[in-house]
């Protein structure tokens, strides 16, 4: 670790809270001159919040960021640039309706160095008058990086830069990034990919639960230690109450998915989900799981592949179709699922009135009974009845689930249902999921918290790069196995 006095960038004790969620508690990062430092952390560890604070998009609640020894007053990405810190974000920050040249002009970037870097990065044929909209995603990444390099930054912040790049371009990008560091510049490299980190980084800073838990020099075999650090004490204290193994049901599966593809991320996913089963889905961020759940819930159309429910092929053009087929989604973002300004009861009762034939008088007593059952099943704290927005995160999540309990569950699609909620509620949700399965429901359970697979699921499919790379039984699903599989480090062949 460099002495923080000579660090080009030195962040210490950074904390940030969003409402009830403490995204960062005590994050720190030191980057020395000529170094490439990897910033790592599992989903939800606080990486993206930290990146936003470093680049001035967000203001920290406490802690400080020093750049070149001075307290940073960066308040916007443009301000960060004046300090010599240039970020390249996950989504290209280029204007789709302007040409490449106009985008450069917009940010006062010189053309000549840009051309040099574009050629260096493997796109010598790029036309400056090409519209950004017309370029493929991989080229956009290169353009974004070349623009950043042309600004001659002291610190380059690269956020999941290689995620959409083909292998040959990755190699060039890595070479250029390393060369930057060798020329005395500094790079913060946010990535999930161990091979790249091993190839170009000097050190890795590991975040977990908003804390910086380690700062390691990169050396052979370091992957295991980083994985352990990202998991932290969780491995040791793994809750032992694993779901008792159940024989996998045979016969026609409740849900059969074959070769499902949509968009650029979900390329080829197949699995079976049986009645009475809880099937976990394990994936790093952006591996196609969002698209998978959206297709199954009728919120997005598949471009290839089939979905069968109880042996009958189905194609959903609206969530109502999926619901009619018994597939009900609890989305990851509660803001997408809840009527924040309405009451608990109204939230739970929406599916009951969705169809035209239910538009008339609401059978108040029957509705009250259904809602009361759901509230009781989920133990929702209904003291704040008025507006769902005033409930705690855990109770909000329970409301989104209760919506589908009220009318009986067939197939429940849970997308990261425990994100950002307290441990007690989490346990209640695991228990509920198991109960539902025991009563004959089928549950598809994506979670960003790997420990949950053991607690709630019977099996888990691991998705990497848009395809299923592994199927793991809950009994074997300890976190490091899952983590390795999720990072594509597993040696097991896909089942």
């Amino acid at each position: 670790m460099p002495d923080s006095a000579d660090a080009v960038l030195d962040a210490k004790g950074v904390a940030k809270r969003f409402g009830a969620v403490q995204a960062l508690r005590d994050a720190s990062l030191q980057v020395g001159r000529g170094q490439v430092v990897a910033l790592m952390g599992a989903n939800g560890a606080g990486k993206s919040t930290f990146v936003k604070i470093l680049t001035g998009v967000l203001r920290p609640d406490s802690g400080h960021v020093k750049i070149k020894g001075r307290e940073s007053t960066v308040a916007s990405p443009a301000g960060a640039r004046a300090w010599g810190l240039v970020p390249v974000y996950q989504e290209p920050s280029l204007i789709p309706d302007l040409s490449v040249a106009d985008n450069l002009r917009l940010g006062d970037t010189a053309m000549e160095p840009f051309r040099h870097w574009v050629a260096e990065l493997g796109l010598p044929d790029l036309q400056p008058d090409a519209m950004i909209r017309s370029l493929p995603l991989a080229s956009l990444r290169i353009v974004d990086l070349a623009r950043a390099l042309a600004m001659e930054p002291d610190v380059l912040l690269l956020d999941e830069l290689t995620a959409a790049l083909p292998t040959d371009l990755v190699a060039r990008v890595l070479k250029v990034v390393r060369a930057q560091a060798d020329a005395g510049r500094s790079v913060i490299y946010v990535s999930h990919r161990f091979t790249e980190i091993a190839a170009i980084c000097d050190r890795a800073t590991v975040l977990r639960d908003g804390l910086t838990v380690g700062d390691l020099a990169i050396e052979p075999g370091i992957e295991e230690r980083i994985v352990e650090m990202m998991l932290g004490g969780a491995v040791a204290a793994a809750v032992t109450e694993a779901r008792p193994g159940r024989p996998v049901a045979s016969g026609t599966p409740r849900l059969r998915v074959r070769g499902l593809r949509t968009g650029t991320r979900l390329t080829d996913v197949s699995f079976d989900l049986h009645k009475g089963e809880v099937l976990g889905v394990v994936a790093l961020e952006g591996q196609g799981q969002d698209e998978l759940f959206n297709v199954l819930a009728g919120n997005r159309r598949a471009s290839a592949g089939t979905v069968e429910v109880d042996g009958r092929p189905k194609a959903f053009s609206h969530p109502a179709d999926a619901i009619a087929a018994g597939l009900t989604l609890v989305p990851g973002d509660r803001a997408h699922a809840l009527l924040m300004s309405r009451s608990v009861r109204e939230n739970i009762a929406v599916p009951l009135i969705a169809r035209i034939r239910n538009w008339g008088a609401v059978p108040m007593r029957e509705e009250a009974a259904k809602v009361a059952t759901a509230v009781e099943t989920l133990q929702i704290d209904t003291r704040a009845q008025g507006e769902v927005r005033r409930l705690s995160g855990g109770n909000q999540q329970k409301v989104t689930i209760a919506r589908w309990i009220a009318n009986g569950v067939q197939t429940l699609l849970l997308f990261d249902p425990t994100r950002g909620i307290d441990i007690r509620t989490k346990r209640q949700i695991y228990a509920l999921v198991r109960d539902l399965a025991d009563q004959g429901a089928a549950v598809l359970f994506y979670t960003s918290e790997l420990a949950e697979i053991r607690l709630a699921c019977d099996r888990a499919v691991v998705i990497f790069n848009g395809r299923v790379v592994d199927v793991i039984d809950a009994a074997e699903a300890d976190e490091s196995t899952l983590m390795r599989a999720a990072y594509g480090l597993s040696e097991r062949a896909p089942a």
């Binding site: 904390a15 809270r17 009830a20 403490q22 508690r25 005590d26 819930a297 919120n299 609206h318 969530p319 109502a320 619901i323 009619a324 989604l329 989305p331 803001a335 997408h336 699922a337 809840l338 009527l339 924040m340 300004s341 309405r342 109204e346 009762a349 929406v350 599916p351 009951l352 009135i353 969705a354 169809r355 035209i356 239910n358 538009w359 008339g360 008088a361 609401v362 108040m364 008025g386 507006e387 927005r389 005033r390 919506r403």
Partner: protein
Amino acid sequence: MTAMTEAPSALTRLGRLMADNPLLPLTLLLFLLIGVLAVMNPAILSLFWAGNTIKIAIPLAMLAACQTLTMLTGGIDLSVGTVATITAFMTATLAPLTGVPPAIAVALACAVLVGLVNGFGVAICRVHPLIMTLGTALIATGCLLVYQRYVIATGVLIPDFLIWLGTGRSLGLPNSLALFVPFAILIIWAQRRSGFGRLLYAIGANEEAARLSGVRVWQVHLTLYTLSSLIAGVTGMLYLGQIKTASLSLALPLDLPSVAAAVIGGTSIFGGRGGYGGTILGALILTVLTTMLTLLQIPEGGRRILFGLIILAVTALFIRLTERS
């Protein structure tokens, strides 16, 4: 690190109070305005004045029902004034030719047609309701002008029962209450106790969530805008009985106040909050306010500026309050 629970500021608490019980501060405001009016001109207050104020407020409150319902979903209906004018004009001019019941039926059918076009544009094409309803209002006005050229010679007949409803009084109270009270009860019941009413709130609060819960949003929009036009049509007939002339711009001046009444009544222009109870008070407040502006001899221009600023200020205040909590 401990989680500090912020003590809610006075403003936040006021905001919650307003959001939970919008009727309370509105009632206070209404009586405050009446009080000011009493100071300005003590002679004006009387039972007759009260009845008159209610009579004038009723068509406004009914058109504001259209705004309330559409605004609950985050929409708006700026064609209500035109629709009301069209039904009134058609009823009055067709009645001598065909008799009263067919005239009313045809007029209401025209209102429904405008509503269906609005609903089609908003629900299927996803045009912003504001643009869509302005557009249909423009076309409908053109149609009315064409229609007027062919019926101008036939004369005008305003059905007696509409005059009774619009201008008559029983026991000192305006007869229009006979239409309005059941109407208001129906709307207030429907917004809480019917599936359709609940869906309006659901779509306005979070259209995506409603969709994910299986609501086919276009069905709701199409029904809603048709219903809105139908209400506007009925209002037009009531207004015809009140004004007792068939004019080509009869109810047009009510367009803007109907939006203002709903906004003042606590219905959010972004949807998901509010209700018709507040709107009725909003319509009364506006009517009293108009009386006051007339007493002060504020010209029409000043009134429009005031209404525009009220809409803007209430909306901006609303955003502030909801962002805090």
